[in-house]
């Protein structure tokens, strides 16, 4: 069990999200930065589908009510465990009663906390992730508040080695602000000028950005489409409404939409976009679908490497 002793403004249970129910209108949902959650899970010996906590918008603290390995990843924070500094992306053993405090989020947007055994909440539609707009999944479809307690699952597999650390070269390049994209399903509806505006401009994340989508501010992309007959989109789809200011739809976005889709963020780089805050800059770079799928495989291999690092036998 873990208990929230001082809730941050936003704290939810998330995993890799939902498959198989998009035809019912259920968004993928899940962690905004699924790589950071995956890395934290790997560092505590969890499987890739384990649930963790997604933490944002400010500091707070939780108490571990049992001994557990834990790791934090994603946003850069200053955090302590019962007074000692907590290194990011590192396997740490907490004792029952230890308090994890996050003072402030210094950089990035979403912090992930994984504990060995994962967060144990009922599986709904094959996922433990919280879908706040529908008020289901996770902890009763809600954010966790001060005083809430939540169960941890039974530890599985090999015990992770204390102090295992995931090197920066195994993580996405969060600081660069370069986000790779492939051409969208409506690429033909944008002329050369529109494409050069999109790929050569710097866009800024608007304050109108949340788990549903990030509105981008910058040079408008010329278009004359208005709305099109609705069709499926996916997290990372960059759509262009009439005002020309692109919107990147994110984890909780509706499954269908009627705006022209100029591009789609490579799954491998979605964490980089997700971690950008309002005011932060991004630039989009086109890659082919083959390059994009290679990047995704590379990320999966990196997660596997992190898991092996954490659970290899310690040599003396």
């Amino acid at each position: 069990m873990i208990t929230v002793t001082k809730a941050p403004p936003y704290l939810t249970v998330q995993d890799v999200g939902r498959k198989y129910s998009r035809a019912s209108g259920v968004p993928k949902g899940g962690a905004m930065d699924s790589f950071a959650l995956g890395a934290a899970n790997a560092l505590v010996g969890n499987s890739g589908d384990a649930a963790g906590l997604e933490w944002a918008l400010g500091g707070g603290s939780i108490r571990f009510d049992r001994d557990t390995a834990f790791a934090i990843s994603g946003a850069t924070v200053n955090a302590t465990i019962s007074g000692r500094d907590v290194a990011p992306c590192t396997t740490i053993y907490a004792r029952a009663g230890d308090a994890l405090s996050v003072e402030t989020i210094l950089n990035g947007r979403f912090l992930y906390l994984a504990c060995s055994g994962g967060i144990e909440v009922p599986v709904l539609l094959r996922s433990r992730s919280t879908y706040l707009p529908g008020r289901f999944g996770g902890y009763g479809g809600k954010t966790l508040k001060t005083g809430d307690s939540i169960a941890l699952g039974a530890e599985q597999g090999q015990r992770p080695t204390e102090g295992s650390h995931c090197a920066a070269d195994l993580m996405p390049r969060y600081d660069g602000g370069i986000v790779h994209v492939t051409r969208g399903t409506h690429e033909d509806l944008f002329d050369e000028t529109a494409w050069s505006t999109f790929t050569e401009s710097v866009y800024r994340i608007s304050t109108a950005s949340d788990r549903t989508g990030y509105k981008l501010e910058g040079p408008p992309i010329r278009n004359a489409m208005g709305t099109l007959p609705s069709e499926a989109g996916c997290p990372g789809t960059i759509q262009v409404p009439a005002d020309g200011l692109p919107i990147a739809v994110m984890a909780d976005a509706p499954t269908i939409g009627g705006y022209a889709k100029i591009a789609v963020v490579s799954e491998a780089d979605l964490p980089i976009l997700a971690q950008r805050r309002p005011g932060d800059e991004v630039r989009f770079e086109l890659v082919t679908i083959e390059q994009s799928q290679r990047m995704l495989k590379r990320r999966a291999a990196d997660l596997h490497t992190i898991g092996q690092l954490a659970t290899r036998t310690v040599r003396r």
Binding site: K19, A23, S24, P133, T185, P229, S230, E231, P254, V265
Partner: protein
């Protein structure tokens, strides 16, 4: 429809949109829905989700185990063979949704359409609707097409909260709000039918292509 009109387009690195060309029409929509059902019955390996829409259907797949090239070739083949078979497909499911026509916008719709409220209700229950597609929020089914006399644009300002079970109309479509959500449609009634339950399989009561009638229960 001839095969050369089918096109596969990547929707990012984990999905493929099959475009059928042509214009939005009930015939094309129903053909796409039938093909989507047939694809889903085939249980193609590494396919996670199939989402039919007006001019396209989109297939989500496991890109760690299937490349875009392999998957798009396989899907185009499957869509073409389904396209040939679909004329023999059985009709879709039928639903009757009980409604209390007590919605807060019933009077304003009566005024806007210059019809008595009773006539608005009569025209809403007179038709059998079909589910165009699901989206907006889980379980929200866009039903077409309502009586021309009832067609009113959506409200200029969406309400911050529309209660689950609200039966509403906007433009040529009608729908039931499955969850408490913001919403800009005109609410004409309420149903106790549970349109979406995440604990149910499938969670949404309605699926693309289903036939829906409303019944006045006072």
């Amino acid at each position: 429809m001839t095969s050369h009109q089918l096109r596969a387009l990547p929707l990012g690195d984990t999905a493929i949109t099959i475009s059928f060309g042509g214009e939005k029409s009930p015939e094309l929509l129903h053909r796409i829905q039938a093909i989507a059902r047939s694809l889903s019955e085939k249980r193609i390996t590494h396919v996670d989700d199939i989402v039919p829409a007006y001019l396209t259907l989109t297939v989500f797949y496991d890109a760690l185990h299937a490349s875009y090239q392999e998957m798009s070739a396989q899907l185009l083949d499957a869509c073409e063979s389904a396209n040939q078979l679909q004329s023999t497909r059985t009709p879709s499911r039928k639903h009757v949704i009980p409604v209390r026509y007590d919605g807060i916008d019933l009077e304003s719709i009566a005024t806007a359409t210059r019809l008595p409220a009773d006539e608005v209700i009569a025209r809403h229950i007179a038709r059998t609707y079909t589910v165009d597609l699901l989206g907006f929020v889980p379980g929200f089914a866009y039903l077409s097409e309502i009586d021309a006399a009832l067609q009113v644009p959506r409200r200029p300002q969406p309400r911050p909260r529309v209660a689950a079970g609200s039966v509403a109309i906007a433009g040529a479509q009608t729908a039931v709000y499955p969850l408490d959500t913001p919403g800009g449609w005109h609410i004409i009634g309420t149903t106790s039918m549970v349109m979406f339950d995440p604990g149910r399989d499938p969670p949404a009561l309605l699926a693309p292509g289903d036939a829906v009638r409303f019944e006045n229960v006072g």
